[in-house]
Subunit: 280 residues, 2 copies
């Protein structure tokens, strides 16, 4: 016996991408019997349901028997529904590919050209921006702008990888004449004594969270200042502070991230505050 494959579908003529699937569906739909055609039309109209439904649910929604769904899947070249669903599920997660491992692999395979790396970073940046749009809560953003507009002075806190964000905020506020202090965080001196009750603090930190940022934010909260947090996940320690949270899911490349989304969010905040104060 040359080939001792057991289960996993030997001569597989199943579509490998959803694109291929729909192409095949288009060509074959005409020739399918009634119920199968009926289900095909349902799938064409509701492709998003396949990944998150059971056979029974789909059958029900398309007003067809579960066995018809089975036959349909086989007709399309799959071993069964499970295999087809796997395709739709993987296609979904491909929306945000695993860049971390992809880049790790890239690195292993030796010196890739800088242009290739640039392409990766550009792609990551675009994905981050797209993600930002879907995930930012407009209400929280509005609230953040309200709070910052009311503040006497805005304190900008964020170090290391977050420092580009705070320094850009510092530049923007200074340019518009909004009173703001960029906490430098050098020599481990935290200038918390400058924070007053009517001030606001913009704290920016990502995993691994900077102790000093958390510390200054906490002190600010104690003093009575409002806290606006730009961070990565809800489990961030900043959540404790009853801060207004603006979440940015940005991808890491090793220890580096394309800050595109964070900076876009930050500059939006700054310009909105400036506009509110009629400074621009």
């Amino acid at each position: 016996m040359v080939d001792a494959k057991l289960d996993p579908a030997p001569a597989d003529n199943a579509p490998q991408t959803t694109d291929a699937f729909f192409k095949r569906l288009g060509g074959q739909a005409e020739t399918l019997p009634k119920r199968l055609r009926q289900f095909a039309e349902f799938i064409a109209a509701n492709p998003d349901r396949v990944a998150v439904s059971t056979v029974a649910e789909l059958a029900d929604a398309a007003d067809v028997q579960p066995s018809a769904v089975m036959r349909f899947c086989q007709e399309m070249g799959f071993s069964g529904f499970s295999q087809m669903q796997k395709l739709f599920r993987s296609d979904y997660s491909q929306k945000w590919p695993d860049y971390a491992t992809r880049l790790a692999k890239l690195r292993e395979h030796g010196a890739e050209s800088p242009s290739a790396l640039l392409a990766e970073f550009v792609e990551v940046g675009r994905a981050s921006l797209e993600n930002l749009m879907t995930n930012v809560d407009p209400a929280a953003l509005q609230q953040a702008v309200d709070v910052l507009s009311r503040a006497e002075t805005i304190h900008l806190v964020g170090f290391r990888r977050a420092f580009p964000v705070t320094s850009y905020l510092g530049y923007a506020f200074e340019k518009m004449g909004v009173p703001a202090i960029l906490h430098p965080g050098i020599a481990n001196i935290s200038m918390t004594h400058l924070i007053r009750p009517n001030d606001a603090v913009i704290a920016v930190t990502f995993t691994p969270y900077s102790e000093m940022t958390l510390d200054i934010a906490a002190k600010g909260r104690d003093i009575g200042a409002d806290i606006v947090a730009i961070t990565d996940v809800v489990t961030s320690p900043l959540a404790r502070l009853k801060a207004i949270q603006l979440l940015v899911a940005e991808l890491d490349v090793g220890d580096f991230r394309a800050l595109s989304a964070s900076l876009s969010l930050a500059i939006t905040l700054a310009v909105s505050v400036g506009a509110r104060k009629n400074l621009i």
Copy 2:
């Protein structure tokens, strides 16, 4: 006693929306035991996976036991994983509208709202990144990496709106152990005397060009150091210095620009240099 219910929580206090779920998660994450916290962080970072994965898959991905996943779900108020997944699946279909639709939705929150502005910056950022990909000269990029890899010390020069770029480069180089000096540009003190013939200078400036950046770059050239320029157009004064030019056409929103492209280019440079020196 009217109701002697023990554990299995029929009076359902499960979150009804993913928003509520994440809010609860944020509040509760602190108090969870280790493994449950570990899984909480995984979920916070990969919320999209819940809808399309099995308990075993998630457990595996989060490096946790399936039973821990179960306990987590119950801790969050669900009867079990299935109930929690149902919530995520109902959210799933709403994520499908495409980019254009979401952009429109973000905008319709009112022309002057922060969300609308964010939509602008996101779009501008994406356009800038696209532009970057097509306009960067791969040869120049390669040459820049060569030069920087050979340099004894890399000087980072860029102020005001360019400072986020140089400060991020400073962070990245420091992290990788590449000798680099971030010129602070405060109090108009330029530290040109630190530049030595075998060094390289990364000069970042956009219109209107910063005098100090041009000045330091020129001095560096006189001393004999290599100059890598990140700037916006070929007519930039940095061209005179026979610098290796990396052009970034970044778009503005009002007086501010989404630095997405510049930062992506910068981090690419940094990582490429690190890789060349086998530091990552």
